[in-house]
Every structure is written in structure tokens, then in C-alpha cells.
Symmetry: C2
Subunit: 426 residues, 2 copies
């Protein structure tokens, strides 16, 4: 229905194609018609434990008994320092943790930290960032400046900073793809590339392995691993945007460390951090950045009101404990194989599926624009009991991971159902 006063995100002011949610539990959204809809995108990729998980409720209940939030300037509490310690301890070389409330702001902070550390070292000209074509790092204007997807930024071109984009990324279908292990990386080319721009560049920023908004594109691990090594040779910081993939989505805590095999200068987490309950984001930085601020006795200014929100921190603490103590991460790795088989089977059945890919708890199918009307997917999916949000001609799933292994066969039925009913235009 047309909402009188809420302008829903990524939408026109009065779009009537929407569903009214009256409750939600586990992987299900319940509508005002009592229809149960499978939340196959984890509510914008943020709910690894689904809806209404006891861990979330109990964390918030417990913290509410004490306090919800206090000013974090010159003040702290054990909950936030515990969380910082857990985040730093995911890595071996990280130093300090800073907080904000959304992914864009965490990326802004990481980019500002990288750049200001150059300014403190009398290198103010190192103001550019190198980003990847297909990248998405948020929708504030500064983060749109490192967005590699034209549709998000074209109307704001007049406001964006001037950055450098890497084209021709070697994408893969998964970990078994030959390019995953060896992408024919031209080290001389990249050495020259970074060498030529390093005087003007402060950092290389990318989404480790999966570019979400680009359509769940999977980048060759070999490419990123080698790119990092060469960039570092030219004293270029590495900013890793693990907002979508970090803390569980790919079956590991940090995709940089646990899959690619390096530790960045700054890494951002958000969505999974609080299991999609209360807004919170974070930047974990290496001493390569914090030591510059120490040396210059410089405060870093980015003063979010709710930086360190304690309700959020409490949930995050308990979520991280759960990742360590349960077998949930191992199950994501087991699920990857089943998810991959699922989309391969669907491709075999439906000729309009041009290709498929899967990694961790993410699977995607590229549909043929010429034969399938992608605009009907959302309505058709909802009608068939599943919330699916295509990105152009990419149909993807990214379900809650807490029970994934058991649910894949259920998801396969949903997808088969929707794909069977898709309007074919050939």
C-alpha cells in the first residue's frame, strides 16, 4: 500500500509494492495477512541469527537492567573494552577499535584516519584512494567517491572526490575456480601502477572477496592477496570493508585474515556485528595508523553520539562469543558446498540462468535479461513465500546462517518455485 508518511529506502516516495510486517521470528517475516515469508536476504545481509534470537533478546534485557548508553568521551565501560579486545584479537597485528553506528560512517572514519595520518606526516597530497570497479562502500558522499557502480553515484558526480579505479577484476565462481588460486597476476604491471600514483594515494580500499551491491561478485583470492603485497611495497594503506562478509557470512571471522591471509591497516565491520539488532559499526586499526596519532599526540575527531552504544556492544560481545563457542562457522563452510550444488542444479534446470556462483552462505545466479523479466521477481517471490531482492539480473540468496545446513533444501524448493513461475519473454 501507499504509505502516507514513510519514504522507504532505495525507493520512490510513494511506492505501493511493499509488504507490512507484523512480526518476525527465526528466518521468517510474518505479514499482516499472516503470510510467513522466508527472509532469504537476512534483512539486508545483517541477521546471521535470524529474527528474535534468544542471544539478542537476553543481551539487551541484561544490559537494560544496568544502562543503555553513556557518553563515550573520556568515559568507558567494561562491555565496550571487552568488545574491542575481542575484535582486536581476531587478528594478530591490530591495535585499536573505534565505533560508529553504520557502515558508511565506519568507512568514512577509516578513510579519514588513513588520510589524516598522511597530513600529520606532511604528505597532504596523498588524498586519493584506489578502489575497485564494482565496489560499494556506503552512500555518504565521501564513500560514494570510492563506489565503483555508476548507478549509485552518477547524480552526485559534481560532489565526489577524485579517486582511482581498478578495472578488469578477475571474478570467479567460487573457491574451486582455477582463477581463485592463480589469476595470472602481472606483478610488474601492478608494481608500476602503484609506483606511478603512490605520491597521490593514501589507501587501497576493497570488499574482501565478495562485492555485494555489484551483484555478489566473487573476486579471485589470488588477485587480492597479491594486490595487497604490491600496494604495501609502495606504502599504500589497505582498508578492508568487511561490513557484509566479516564476522560469519563466509564462515570465518575476518575474510582478510582467515581467507586471503593478510591483516589490513584498517578493517570495518558492521551488519553482522550486532547480528542485525541495534545499529553499530566499527573500525579496527593497525599501529601503522594509530602510532602516527600517538607520535603527534593528535586526537582523532569523528564524534558520533552513539559511538560505543552499550546495548549494541553487549549484543556484539555475546554474538562474537557465540561464533567462537558454537559450530556455526564450521557449518557455513559445510553449507557452501551444498549451496553451490543447489545453484548448479538450478542452472541445469532453467536455461535462462546464464551462470552461478557461491561462497560461504552467499549464492548468486545471473539471469538472462533477454528472456526473463527481472522486475517481477520481488512480487512473485513474496507470493511464493520468500523475500528475494534481485540486483538487476542477479538473483542471490544470503539467508541467516544459524541453521543454514538444515535449511538449504527448503531454500532450494522456494527458489525452484519462483524460477518456474518467472515470466519468460522469449
Amino acid at each position: 500500500m501507499r504509505l502516507a508518511h514513510t519514504w522507504l529506502p532505495a525507493d520512490t516516495p510513494d511506492n505501493e509494492f511493499n509488504i507490512q510486517i507484523i512480526s518476525a521470528h527465526d528466518s521468517l517475516l510474518v505479514t499482516n495477512n499472516q503470510q510467513k515469508i522466508y527472509d532469504a536476504v537476512s534483512s539486508w545481509w545483517c541477521k546471521p541469527l535470524g529474527h528474535g534470537h534468544e542471544l539478542i533478546k537476553n543481551s539487551i534485557y541484561e544490559q537494560l537492567d544496568n544502562f543503555e548508553h553513556h557518553i563515550p568521551a573520556n568515559a568507558w565501560n567494561a562491555v565496550i573494552e571487552d568488545l574491542s579486545t575481542k575484535l582486536v584479537n581476531i587478528f594478530t597485528q591490530m591495535d585499536k577499535t573505534l565505533y560508529a553506528s553504520d557502515g558508511s560512517s565506519a568507512i568514512e572514519m577509516a578513510m579519514k584516519l588513513s588520510y589524516e595520518s598522511r597530513v600529520l606526516q606532511n604528505q597532504p597530497k596523498r588524498s586519493k584512494f584506489i578502489a575497485l570497479s564494482g565496489a560499494y562502500h556506503g552512500e555518504t558522499i565521501f564513500t560514494l567517491g570510492v563506489c565503483g557502480i555508476d548507478s549509485y553515484k552518477k547524480n552526485f558526480a559534481g560532489l565526489l572526490t577524485d579517486n582511482i579505479f581498478i578495472e578488469n577484476i578477475p571474478y570467479v565462481t567460487g573457491r574451486n575456480d582455477v582463477l581463485w588460486h592463480d589469476c595470472n597476476f602481472d606483478e610488474n604491471y601492478w608494481d608500476n601502477y602503484f609506483g606511478e600514483v603512490s605520491d597521490l594515494v593514501t589507501a587501497l580500499i576493497f570488499e574482501p572477496i565478495v562485492q555485494g551491491a555489484a551483484g555478489m561478485k566473487i573476486i579471485s583470492k589470488d588477485f587480492l592477496a597479491k594486490l595487497v603485497i604490491v600496494a604495501r611495497r609502495h606504502d599504500i594503506h589497505i582498508i578492508a570493508d568487511e561490513i557484509m562478509v566479516g564476522l560469519g557470512r563466509l564462515g570465518v571471522l575476518s575474510v582478510c585474515k582467515d581467507i586471503i591471509g593478510f591483516e589490513p591497516d584498517a578493517v570495518c565491520f558492521a551488519k553482522n556485528l550486532t547480528a542485525g539488532s541495534i545499529p553499530m559499526s566499527t573500525v579496527v586499526v593497525n599501529k601503522s595508523i594509530s602510532n602516527i596519532y600517538r607520535l603527534h599526540k593528535k586526537a582523532f575527531h569523528h564524534s558520533h553520539t552513539h559511538s560505543c552504544n552499550t546495548l549494541a556492544a553487549k549484543v556484539a560481545n555475546n554474538y562474537l562469543d557465540y561464533l567462537y563457542k558454537s559450530d556455526i562457522l564450521d557449518n557455513v563452510l559445510l553449507a557452501e558446498k551444498k549451496l553451490s550444488e543447489m545453484v548448479i542444479n538450478l542452472q541445469a534446470k532453467f536455461s535462462f540462468i546464464l551462470n552461478v556462483r557461491a561462497i560461504g552462505s552467499i549464492a548468486a545466479m545471473e539471469l538472462d535479461y533477454n528472456t526473463v523479466d527481472v522486475n517481477t521477481i520481488f512480487k512473485l517471490a513474496v507470493k511464493n513465500g520468500i523475500y528475494l531482492r534481485n540486483i538487476g539480473n542477479i538473483l542471490y540468496i544470503m539467508p541467516p546462517i544459524y541453521n543454514l545446513l538444515d535449511e538449504i533444501s527448503k531454500i532450494a524448493v522456494y527458489l525452484d518455485n519462483v524460477l518456474s513461475k518467472l515470466k519468460i519473454t522469449y
Copy 2:
């Protein structure tokens, strides 16, 4: 103490001047030494109901029984539409409400909406904003571009968009100041001013009445009221940043509407919106903006994961109901007189207080840099049981408002105590 892994906001990596909070209730923070500290800044200006208020707890308990958050893309619930309706109904001419999680992002959205509406009308050159010297609208790079305080932005100068700043703002001491009612506004001057730049400008942005980060400077109501009229004559949007002042701080819901007497094209609320419990911010827009998107059937893209977070929306709904049903807003207006008297009395007693000002539940004293060591204020205040955060030589208070009328005499004693012990250097 030096925190191993948390880098506190607006601070150096390892600052040891901090307090450990173990609980908080009402207006009090409780430290690990069981010391009770009066939260005289409402935890960065966001806690009108103090800590642990039943309204906050009960709202969250109630919503947790149902669900905490779901994807807001093509999906909504009654809680968020209720909140949007309440926010729109503060005004008479507003249309739609959009959501984010922090103040900076709400401002970014308002600025992007204003600019993209120009792009949609084939006026892409109208990319500049007019802001006020002393302005603070957040610390993302785009919002720093409209910051009128040099210390926040000087290290990021190379990244900022080029905007226009109004200097020589007529500041006042409060509503009784003669300039409050009549600032000798030179209409011809401002008409020429806006006329000359209007081809390049999309919006005028300001903090209605109080510039917080500048040191609680109070702007002449007459100046802002007349500036808006002249700017509009040149088709310049008005963006009002009510993040600090709106929803209670000055004893009214909207400072634009209820004090200055106009309705902006976009107004941002945040801090008070959820009574400082869960991060949430909002932009309420006029049809002057939304109708452009309707006309062009254009979606607005700024897709925060937690846009419309339902836990936050539930608290906001109940907080707004409380503002309507209780006498809390009237009490702020009554408190204003007492707060003003309090700082006038302190000025009479301490010769190093150069001048004072007060409005709503905000009072500020300008201290003499030459005679007072402002760097000792935080430590001294904490020692004396009050959390005070000076802005340079401005000492201000902005306490929780729910019990303000009763607490002013208590606050006066705290302040007298701290000021009496301030290190005088003459």
C-alpha cells in the same frame, strides 16, 4: 586508565584521563569507585529522560517480544509509519520521513535530496550549500564541507566540497536580548547576496537558534527568520539541523516551527529522537523535495541497513507521545528563566566569567582564557561529582530535561563548587 584496545572518540589513542562507568540511572553516572557523577551534558546532548528511564526500557521490552528489526526495502510496519506520522504532524506542510542511524547521515541525506532534486530539474550546477560560520553538521567529509569551525576540518581541507559561509552572525544572550527580536537585518544586502549565488546554490543549512559545537552560541531569531524569507525568494532550499535542539531541548518539538516560525524543506532530528537509547536519525521533507522525485518517478538511494530500526522507532514513538502528554516541554520553558538567573548569578560571583547565555535547557558561560586553565575543568568537575565538557573556554550545561525544574538548584551548587576550585592563573 589507558585502555588497551578502545580508541575513545575525540581523543588520542591512549588518553588516560577517563572514567569507568559501571552503571547509570536518572541523571547520574556511577563509576567503578562507586562515585556518582551528575551527567550535566546529557551524555553528548542526547538523553532528555536521563539514564534507565522506564519509558525506554518498556518500549524496548515490548518491541523485543515481537521483533527487533527487519529490512525496510519494500517492507514496513505500523511502528515506523506511526513514527513518521507523528514527525510529519509536528508540522503543517511536511510530507515524508526518511531514516538513518546517526546525525551525520541524516544531514548527508538532506543535502543529497536537495542536490539530486536540482539534478533531476537539469540544474546540476546548483551544487553548493550556504552554511553559517560556527556551524557543525557532523563529521563525515560531506558534512564537514558545511562545517563553520576550522579545527574540525582543517586537516581534511583537501577533501571538502567548496561551499559558502555566512560570517558575522548576530549572536544573543537569550530571548530577552534586543537583537533576538530585531537584529537590524539588511534585507537589500541579503537579497543581493542570495541573488548573486543562487545559480550555484541548492540550499541554506543551519542549526536553528543554537550552534552547539561552536560553544552553545545563540543566534538571533530575527536574523534566521528573515534570512529564510530572503533565501526562499531565490528558490534556495532550507535545511534545518535540529539534531541537538529539536524534540525537547528548547522546550518545543521543532525549533524552526515553534520558535522561528517557519517550516524548512528538510529538517533533521537525531539525538533526542530515541531519548539517547538506540541510534536513529531522521530527515522530514517538504513536498518541495518529494514532489520532484514523484514527478521523475525517481528512487532516492541512501540505503542504511538499519534505516527504520524498529527497536529505535518504538522508543521514539513513546518518547514523542510523552512530549505531547506530559508537561515536560512547559517545564523546560519555565526552567529557562531559572537557568538564565543561575548563570547570571555565577557571573556576578566569578570575575573570570566574561559573559553568559541561556535558552531552553542550555546554559553557557564564556571563561577568560587569560585567567583560567580550561584544561583542568574535566578532571576537576569529575572530582566534584559532575561531568562537564568545556568547548575551549566555553563551559556549558545541557542536563536531562525530565526533572530539570527541580534540579537547577542542585546544578548551581555543582557549578559553584567547580568554579570556586578552578585554577586561576593571574
